[in-house]
Symmetry: C2
Subunit: 345 residues, 2 copies
């Protein structure tokens, strides 16, 4: 089969490798129907040191169950499934507490002998806990929306949910990437009336407005902070959803959050140390939350919304490529020529 | 009157100064009945550069209203009142949202022409919003408990409240100072059954056990983290209440918190930058919360509990001094000879 590997910054290759096979009795093999490239894939695409070994890439995919291990009980060959971006048993103590991305037995695609999702087939560990079956006949037009439940939309939803977005609260979303726009859509669905989107790519912020943003702030840094403060009558935002992951985005977040407010991060932090003392978070009783979205916990409810036509984050995909063109897809996202790239098979 | 000033590290003096007078129509003058020394007063006591000007000290006091400005409507001369450690109008947008310590018109004792609470009398700005009248005849035996509502107990309560302590959750409290012990008491009252107190001063942790701690961990650093992990079956604590304010306490907090857990800080951070990236908070979806306690918001309910005899944080006071002995009181707390020092007049 063909699969995607990264060898270093800017160096993504599609190679032919053996098809995956069942190794554990709890595995399933999924023949991939749609996959995509994640904003988080761009971090190593920009900075990863070159090496002799390639890392399997991709962690978002839809597909058809091709084979199952003997211990798999909830799936059959031929089932159409969504794979959350992390695998988990969905039954350990942390899964039961709603933190499936910290599953004691779970893990991430693309390492420890588990392949990536930007491939024609994937071995999915802990298949009963990890794969969500889509019932009935599925209209191909729904594929993009269904694929967003693998990561991007539900990551935006996680930000909004952990930020306790609700009616009457002003929400600021930092970042006009696909996760930021998903956060706008999720915030709107959770009842926010005032949603300020901080981003400077017009085509993206236009989609943000379609998704529910009421204000767009193109300025960054101190100017951006000043503009949000002005828009909120000098009070600041109740909730800030940080969907970038770089330190300046976090600095913007604590600059615009109001006393008692919440900063909810879903952009994977590209920093470890950052200000959290009296002058940034503590003095104004700001809550900092977020992390890798426990997509599995949100997926069942969101799936119903998509199938019933009430939720469509699909427009975050604006470019479609075949598996051989995945490296070009990375470049398109890196150049911001594409917002989010769908991979078809 | 006599009042306390700090001139530098270790240099606390009681001086005779003019009695305070009404300056604004919203002021009240309170004749102080009981005051105390705060753990946060020890930070400058250990590190403040020497200077020619003394800073008025103290921000916790009970007393009797001696005079009121013309605009004060809710208080009369002779009322017995509790002063929250910050003053506020209790009516601005942030006060209404429950963040009285960020009141737009509020402030802190000991600067900008407002004196400190370790004094025979205090000018209280925004008296209607700041002072809470204690109804009826008050038994002097209740003074210590009532004084804890000015800061220390309700700061511990703020930690527990923001940490979303509830039945079924394991709580770890870092710090066996008066705030830490208050946090133990508050966590117990909010329903926590398992409360692990990290502290190494036996007389203090004994009081912590009286207040509801079920386990005491004397080890610090990696050993302390390992011990808490062992006590929680390797899972970590749902809630960590950080009542110290130094970086190692924060590091301990993210070391023992479980995935999806909450770190709630009320120790005033003596640092600005700290780890919050994938390896500390983000990766396990840890929420960081806390700040200066909006005591005014919690005070009415807690006052009823104290007056009805259901709540008694008074035992955090273990040494009583007169106003002239306040400098000795600082030294006793700094030496850990005293847990918390009450000042009588």
């Amino acid at each position: 089969m063909k699969a995607t590997f990264m060898y270093g910054a800017g160096d993504v290759r599609v190679e032919t490798v053996p098809d995956p096979v069942i190794r554990e009795s709890t595995d399933a093999i999924v023949r991939v129907t749609r996959a995509c490239i994640c904003g988080s894939d761009l971090h190593p695409f920009r900075s990863r040191p070159s090496g002799a070994d390639g890392t399997p890439m991709g962690h978002e995919f839809l597909g058809v169950v091709e084979d199952i291990g003997t211990a798999v009980t909830s799936l059959r060959r031929g089932d159409f499934v969504i794979a959350p971006f992390a695998f988990q048993d969905n039954s350990c103590v942390f899964c039961r507490e709603g933190v499936q991305t910290s599953c004691i037995h779970g893990g991430w695609y693309g390492n420890n002998g588990v392949g990536g999702g930007q491939a024609e087939a994937v071995r999915v560990p802990l298949a009963d806990g990890s794969l969500v079956k889509v019932p009935g006949r599925i209209d191909e037009a729904l594929y993009p929306a269904l694929l967003t439940l693998s990561d991007v939309y539900l990551t935006g939803y996680h930000a909004a949910w952990m930020g306790r977005v609700e009616a009457g609260k002003t929400v600021t979303v930092i970042g006009d990437g696909a996760v930021g726009l998903s956060a706008v859509l999720a915030a709107r669905r959770l009842g926010a009336e005032r949603i300020i989107l901080m981003g400077r790519h017009r085509s993206r912020t236009d989609l943000g407005v379609e998704f529910g943003a009421t204000d767009v702030v193109a300025e960054r840094g101190e100017d951006g902070i000043a503009r949000v403060m002005e828009l909120t009558g000098g009070e600041g935002s109740h909730v800030v959803l940080e969907a970038v992951g770089h330190l300046p985005a976090y600095e913007q977040a604590y600059g615009v959050v109001r006393p008692g407010g919440v900063i909810s991060r879903v952009g994977v932090p590209q920093y470890e140390d950052a200000p959290i003392g009296f002058g940034s978070l503590f003095g104004k009783n700001v809550t900092l939350t977020g992390g890798p979205a426990p997509v599995r916990g949100y997926l069942d409810a969101a799936l119903i919304e998509v199938l019933e036509g009430r939720l469509d984050p699909g427009p975050v995909f604006d470019l479609s490529v075949g598996i051989d063109e995945v490296p070009a897809g990375y470049r398109a996202m890196d150049d911001r020529a594409a917002l989010k790239v769908l991979v078809t098979f």
